[in-house]
Amino acid sequence: MLDLAIRNGRIVDGTGLPAFEGDLGLRAGRIETVGGRLPQGAAARELDARGQVVAPGFIDPHTHFDAQLLWDGQARPALEHGVTTVVHGNCSLSLAPLRAEHRAKLVSMFQQIEEMPDAAFHGAFEWTWEGFADYVAALRGRLALNVAPLAGHSVIRLWAMGADAQKRAATSDEIRAMQDLLRECLEAGAVGLSTSYVDVDENLFPVPSRFAHHEEIAALASVLGEFGRMLQVVPEFYDTDITLARVDQLAELSLAHRIPTTFSPLFDYAAAPANVSRVLARVAEQTARGAQVWPQVQTRPIDISFSLDQASLIFVQTPIWYLVMRLPREQKLRSLRDPGTRTSLLQAAEPNGDPARFAKLRIRDSRDPSLVGRRLGELAAERGTTPAALMIDLSLEEDLGIHFLSASMGHEDPARVGAILANDLVHVGASDGGAHIQSFATYGDTGYLFSEFVRKGGHLSLERAVKKITGDTARIWNLPERGELRPGQAGDVVVFDPDTIGRGEELPVRDMPGGGMRYVRSASGVDAVIVGGEVVYTRSGGYTDARPGVIATS
């Protein structure tokens, strides 16, 4: 008897082939039958998927759930969006391998780079490991979804070189030690190595991986080649020309060591309209040579959050505002209260009385929960004031603690982004799930792919969109048991309504260890999520207690 039958669904199998009607049967954690009609009573449990799509579980290749998974093995709310496998340990940072004396350093880097709160690392879990195998052992039994952990180059350097990891290039002996350590990580289940050419630590000093010479990267890539595993890179994405050079470097490493490589992020924005096209042209050249270089592109537009407590660059195009925001805090408060300065600020923000510029801004968080999410224009009209005046007044009322949001400031043109996502050379990813949690929600990018670029824009067919975040991802990351619905594959399945799948509103919640705040988005249109043949989430019943997640590389 089957363990689970999903009946009457529209099967989109992750290969990109046309959808077809049929049933799906699962047994012992794996897919046993795809298509056709299962006889009544064939399974111990049944789900009716009439009118729904039945697809492979989504795979998110760029997350920072490293710490969260240790207290929340469901990686909420990623799981309810249909994500059944996550890659974590990106951007040179992972929780293993890590000597005990380096834990504080790593936590500081995570806080600086990924904006993760201190409480996420202290008291929320017990550090029981140093080596990668023991870290993987600590994850086992906790997980409701599968993980494919990367080993971070910066922590490997710290292990091998101590404080010198942030001072100099490695010696030959140190490089050999790093190779041995990476080999141990890969044998214990690491899906690859992550490195960064960009990030800085808590003192704004380059992270350890940035001190590596090419010989070190090449030596580590040769170890990746022994396992056919991934090299993930954060290139100097702020400069197109340097990014092109990194594409060439990754291509040479890929060809020399027969490894896949991926880099992230790659953004589209109006201020540098040729950025993506130039990078993709170079990727196409290198792909034609046989290299595997996968640029990761996120689906969601980028918002800017800010408060009047900081001199955000959002004000640099309005000189008087930028001038006031750069003042020392007490002087700034006096200036904002000063009638003359206030008049100057309002005239600059609302020239000729036109409130349009600030009217679209939203309140991101406030002491008054009823204000969160409201547009300044609407709220100002209710209160008989102007949006800019309201921004100043609310900021003074909340001692500059209130935050505002300017939506869709980058990667924001659906027509351009849709065409990029549909490009066969583009790897849909870069969600950053679990990071930047107090700035914006990194959940729901998969739902947004369907709502914005399948239903609304028509840039991808349903089948192609599913393939992009299932079969393609599994192939790129060498996860051969996942990403497609066919007999023998892992029983990772998502059942969703193609007409309503999307992402909910961004909302602040206080569910972090110690009561810390983060932004989340709930799922819409996802009916059921199955991992390893077990139901881990249903729309009607919420999350279950099942913990079927595994190390996806094992």
Binding site: L204, S312, Y322
Partner: protein
Amino acid sequence: MSEPVIAGATVVAGHDGEAQLVVRVRYENGALGSVTLDADCARKLMEDCGAESAAELTGQPWQRLLAVLPS
């Protein structure tokens, strides 16, 4: 034109939700390039140039830009 100059600057959103500044550079041969600065680098560039707005960066020599880029 004897050296590259800043041809303009625009605020965009960075992947971490912070505002960033895309600075366009016009090279001696007329070609345009762009460099994206994070908040700290952009503030330093504006200070070094004595600029009170992004518009005032236009025409500044690119050496000022090179000076604030991360090493």
